[in-house]
């Protein structure tokens, strides 16, 4: 690894002469090394999927969850350092809970994204804290409809209709751009995301992976939950089929 920012990359409170904060960029690299995470906003909800790379054959399937519910109406999929992600999820749950205690209604997804972004950014301001090494895809469904946000380690948060982070994010974004999301239902979206994740998974570099998916849509009564088992299996089967057809060419 070439040390590009020699001298100016020792602390998150130092700018380089060309106006970059290298520590934040290095944190983003930690995200780029992790398994791909995808989120899409369909016409009736949001679907999120994670390429969970399995490090040990002895791990129980379904453990080491990467998608967490923050509130009944929203959830987060985390890429990057898992422990950092757990901290952010805990904070997001706290923010959602305290908002509801004060204002008497569920936290709007936009407000939640803003607060999480604020918290992530906060940790890039002090020399005695390191930036979070994780990227977050936040999907939720509130009274303003379904929304998808992505929060980067720098604390930037934007609203998207399709987002991807992690190893295969470039390939995933190309695939997402091909989809007609405004006409797609979440049921169809689940299948599409599974296909994309199977497609971009690099068999050579990473051995096994587990597909973890969640959604929040009209069909789930606007509650964030794991995609139902039958639909998940259907999606995996469709994805494997699509791969074989591709390989057969």
């Amino acid at each position: 690894m070439s040390s590009i920012g020699t001298g100016y990359d020792l602390s998150v409170t130092t700018f380089s002469p060309d106006g970059r904060v290298f520590q934040i960029e290095y944190a983003a690299k930690a995200v780029d090394n992790s398994g791909t995470v995808i989120g899409i906003k369909c016409k009736d909800g949001v679907v999120m999927g994670v390429e969970k790379l399995i490090t040990s054959k002895m791990m129980l399937p379904g453990s080491n969850r990467r998608i967490h519910s923050v509130h009944s109406h929203s959830g987060m999929a985390v890429a990057g350092l898992a422990a950092d992600g757990r901290q952010i999820v805990a904070r997001a749950k706290g923010e959602a809970s305290s908002y509801e205690s004060v204002y008497g209604e569920a936290i709007p997804v936009k407000e939640l994204a803003g607060r999480v972004a604020n918290y992530v950014h906060l940790c890039t301001l002090y020399w005695w804290l390191r930036p979070f090494g994780c990227g977050i895809i936040l999907g939720g469904y509130d009274r303003d409809g379904p929304q998808l946000y992505m929060i980067e380690p720098s604390g930037i948060s934007y609203r998207y209709f399709g987002a991807a982070i992690g190893k295969g994010k470039q390939a995933a974004k190309t695939e997402i751009e091909k989809l007609k999301l405004s006409e797609m239902t979440c049921r169809e979206g689940v299948i599409e995301i599974a296909k994309i994740i199977y497609k971009i998974h690099d068999e050579a570099k990473d051995k096994a992976f587990e597909l973890e998916m969640s959604w929040v849509c009209d069909e789930s009564k606007r509650k964030h939950e794991k995609v139902p088992v039958e639909l998940l299996e259907e999606a995996k089967a469709a994805a494997r089929l699509a791969l074989e057809e591709m390989d057969a060419d």
């Binding site: 004060v102 204002y103 008497g104 209604e105 709007p108 936009k110 407000e111 009274r143």
Partner: protein
């Protein structure tokens, strides 16, 4: 004759009402603020603005209800800026009840929060003495409300028009004024809907007279509005 303590704590004996109709809400109140038997203000405005789309009717201690409204207006202002859009009636009512409940030992005020927002339409929330919050199709409060329970039981119906709702409110407040010594003066109403807010004012002499009430005679209003006498011709 006992001396009047004009500087004593001011209480709004009061009649306050909030009513939903098809498309919004109508809030109504009397205008009497009293210290004991002395009427400190006979034309007070008990319907206070919290945001562009949410108002609150105040009863009980004048000071307590004013301070509480000031705090809630301040918090709602910040909340609106943060959210980037108008606050909902529910949020306003919740802020009112948090203050009312958490400071229940020090406060003596009953409030009715009413307004209109784009998600829920017209809503009325009652926040009585202990700090309960209750969403209701209509709410009544203050000392004068005791005389209105039976009246509303009979007259209330869902889905009224704006005109029906406002005339119901004016009638109810005037009935309460007739029987409650701590309520009086004029009737003020505020109508809130998608088109905005309208304030109305009904002076005492425009209100109907109820059973055994005597019409005003030699009222100051008549004397003041009488034409000046003609000079005598020589």
């Amino acid at each position: 004759m006992e001396s009047l303590d004009v500087d004593g704590p001011h209480s709004m004996g009061t009649t306050i009402i909030g009513v939903t109709y098809d498309g919004g809400v109508v809030l109504g109140a009397d205008s009497r603020t009293s210290t004991g038997v002395y009427v400190a203000n006979r034309a007070s405005d008990k319907i206070t603005q919290l945001t562009d789309n949410v108002y609150v009717c105040r009863s009980g201690s004048a000071a307590d209800s004013q301070i509480l409204s000031d705090y809630v207006r301040y918090f709602l202002h910040q909340h609106t800026i943060q959210l980037g859009q108008p606050a909902t009636v529910k949020v306003a009512a919740n802020l009112v009840r948090l203050l009312a409940y958490n400071n229940k030992n020090m406060l003596q005020t009953g409030l009715i929060v009413g307004g209109w927002d784009k998600y829920e339409g017209g809503k009325i929330y009652g926040v009585p003495l202990g700090g309960t919050i209750l969403e209701q199709p209509f709410a009544i409060g203050g000392s004068g409300s005791s005389y209105l329970y039976g009246f509303f039981d009979q007259v209330w119906k869902e889905g009224m028009t704006k005109e029906e709702a406002e005339s119901l409110v004016v009638k109810a407040v005037s009935l309460a004024i007739a029987r409650d010594g701590a309520s009086g003066g004029v009737v003020r109403t505020v109508v809130i809907n998608a088109d905005g807010v309208t304030r109305n004012f009904y002076p005492g002499d425009t209100l109907p007279l109820w059973h055994e009430e005597i019409p005003a005679q030699n009222s100051l209003l008549d004397i003041l509005s009488a034409p000046s006498p003609e000079p005598m011709s020589m």
